[in-house]
Symmetry: C2
Subunit: 460 residues, 2 copies
């Protein structure tokens, strides 16, 4: 994939060189001469990637990177630090500033382009997720649904696929000392895949050659093609200087690579950096799911709303048609609810609605569905339930609310009763609204005949 | 990216050859010997791609493709048809059956892998979107939010970037005859990019060399790196047999390519196939957006719900803090609404709520927000409005509902009035709930003093 790259370097020849290389591969290139300009252009040009020189006179690369990663409008842009020194200490410092990778001058084209392709692909996925996230923000849902940021070391285990048992033990010992997540060592390619399915690791560290003739690249590829590990972080360990394998690994979907023998601190910094990225995309996905869920939840009581109940009724009816079974629908209304609001205020009314929802949920089965239709009106759908069982359930619900007064906020309590209407439906009932209407009429009868009672609807 | 490929061929040596090629590039390969097995495995193994031989004894490739594309559980899997004949007629037949591309035996590795990489990348994007779509389905939102399938030729124009004006005229004439969307011819790379931004085409047809020394690949790359064209279909036209350029184009993000000179019917079939794919992903994105929107919309009246209003209030308050301005908040309650429900039934009550929402919206400004808080209770937020303007607006709303009876479903009508409470707030008001409570108390006063009137809250 193509995309826009911001090249930041204080030396003109370096800028020209990188611009020429990237342009020849059809990347769109923007250049900045110093850190200040880089920060400006990153915001105004919204590049898909930043290639950032470490040594610059005004603000050095580490600081530029840290600033980019700390601002919401640029935090999602991948950063490659370009360095002349290339020591583990420098790399760790960069990773801690939020860098996604390092390239040392002079450039190896294979390594450069494999990394750029890899980061562009990742950026494209993030953009898709971020676009949806922006919709949530526009709608004001973001504050309601945002998952809290979690500790990056609070998640699934780290799975090691080492070149030998001996190496595996050594890696595990060093990592376990300094990471708080469990570390699992595997002994073959096949075992790694099995454990991946069972343990759902958040991060894999895979050596290019595995025990028993296993192939690390094949494992990377397999992890990426399976739904359960597609989103996991995968760090490939390659032999020192084996740029070919590293590039191939990145193209197959490895998140990062490190050359062996490695400094354990650097591996840990890379693991933490990948976990941070994974936590961020997981959060975006969960927020989106939570946002969608809000559409079917009643905010006051936390139970489903009428919208969800209507859709759910279709599924209940379909099931009845398939199995030929019967099912029950209840409409429930709090008696004289208006007078509670009038006497004790809206907060008291809200407390009663919440408490009734709670008791209602305690008195139905897991397969039943309760929903608030609006106001003081509730709905229950009970699949595979006949008149006898429905009567028992309705009576249980009626007594659950009559049996104990509802505590009010602040102080005091209030006696509450409910009226219930029940309709029994069969596979022949093709119209959900008609079934609900029958239950509603039965509810009306309960109200007319004195409240605090259960009435069954006439068969259709 | 790696992934799982289902290879379908009735000849064992062909299966072995493709399996070897794909495995060496670390793809996970599953094989089927005939059409029936292919349909089974496509469902059970959920491959990321199917490579499908055309000539098979039981069910031929076209039919297998058509069946795969017609079933919801396999329709999203890209299909490459593998053919020995390779005529335009055959390709058109395949495209109409839903195929994504064709490869002719013997395979050119460059063409094969560029196409496989390209389709894998597309599949990955679709999977991300489909996952979100499945969430909507689980929550029962899908039926409520699904955009209707639109005519694939009902959308933005097709933009042509030909090698010369002469060629451009010829292409346009042939395409305009047989497509119902407008066709735009551009005369340079720069003009193509400008028009892309202004006309938002759904599909681009780009020749590898452009007039005035332009570069088709560079244009493809630029289209892919800009947000406004990132999701458009891009078909690259390459010289006959120039597999190198075709492969490069696919890697840069072209959706498809065709070799010139081409059969116009084939180009049209490819355009239609790409538009179909684009319409599908557009629909998934819109459905998701609609799903999120449901979380803040009151289903009965179609206006915003309390959840949205609360978030919106935060923004109104923030703005007031920035500008030092005042704003007004109204709480509105339909008078004696319960008696409408009791006398005319719930349907009549619903009609009154809907009609009031409509009149309410007609009597506020575009920057104001109306929301239904629940039951017969409505909310209005009016930024930059002082007591004088708020009084006029509230009075206008009161009269809008008092002025004409509300028609009821079936027959008849009912006179309706509303009581209104208004609070004026300033930058000093830091608690949204407190402002709303003040308006609510004023509303209570309106009720107590005879209804059908507007009361202002005491300043905080």
């Amino acid at each position: 994939m193509s995309g826009r790259v911001l090249v930041v370097d204080d030396v003109a020849t370096n800028r020209l060189l990188l611009r020429a290389k990237l342009s020849s591969a059809y990347y769109d290139v923007v250049v900045a001469e110093n850190g200040t300009q880089a920060l400006e252009l990153a915001r105004s040009e919204q590049p898909d990637m930043v290639m950032l020189d470490v040594m610059m006179p005004d603000i050095d690369g580490f600081e530029v990177c840290a600033v980019l990663k700390s601002k919401p409008e640029t935090a999602h842009i991948p950063v490659i630090m370009v360095t002349a020194l290339d020591t583990p200490e420098e790399r760790i410092r960069g990773l801690e500033a939020g860098a996604d990778d390092f390239l040392s001058k002079p450039f190896n084209d294979l390594a450069l382009f494999a990394r750029v392709r890899n980061l562009m692909r990742m950026k494209m996925m993030f953009d898709e997720l971020r676009l949806r996230d922006m919709t949530s923000r526009e709608l004001g849902l973001a504050d309601l649904v945002s998952e809290p940021e979690v500790d990056i070391e609070a998640g699934g285990p780290i799975l090691l696929a080492p070149p030998s048992d001996e190496q595996g033990m050594a890696w595990a010992a060093q990592l376990s000392d300094r990471l708080s997540v469990p570390v699992i060592v595997t002994h073959s390619e096949r075992e790694a895949l099995n454990l991946a399915r069972l343990e759902l690791p958040d991060c894999f560290v895979v050596h290019q050659t595995l025990d028993e003739g296993g192939d690390g690249l094949r494992l990377v590829s397999a992890l990426r093609s399976r739904p359960e590990t597609r989103q996991s972080a995968v760090i490939l360990v390659v032999d020192n200087g084996d740029v070919q394998t590293a590039a191939k690994g990145l193209d197959l979907g490895a998140s990062d690579y490190i050359e062996a023998p490695f400094d354990v601190s650097e591996l840990i910094a890379r693991i933490r950096s990948q976990l941070r990225r994974k936590r961020y995309s997981d959060r975006l996905r969960t927020n989106l799911r939570n946002g969608l869920k809000l559409a079917v939840i009643d905010p006051l009581t936390g139970i489903y709303n009428r919208r969800y109940a209507s859709q759910h009724m279709n599924r209940v009816m379909e099931r009845a048609r398939e199995t030929g079974g019967v099912y029950a629908v209840m409409m429930i209304d709090l008696d004289k609810f208006k007078s509670i609001n009038d006497r004790f205020g809206h907060d008291a009314g809200d407390a009663v609605l919440r408490e009734f929802s709670r008791r209602l949920q305690e008195n139905i089965r897991g397969v039943d569905l309760v929903a608030r239709f609006g106001g003081e009106e509730f709905f229950v759908a009970m699949p595979d339930v006949d008149q006898h069982a429905a009567a028992a359930a309705a009576e249980r619900i009626r007594r659950a609310i009559e049996g104990a007064p509802v505590p009010l906020p602040g102080d005091g309590e209030v006696e509450v009763t409910v009226s219930i209407g029940v309709a029994i439906a069969t596979a022949e009932d093709a119209d959900a609204e008609a079934v609900i209407k029958r239950a509603d009429r039965a509810l009306y009868n309960s109200k007319q005949t004195g409240r605090n009672r259960v009435t069954f609807a006439q068969a259709a």
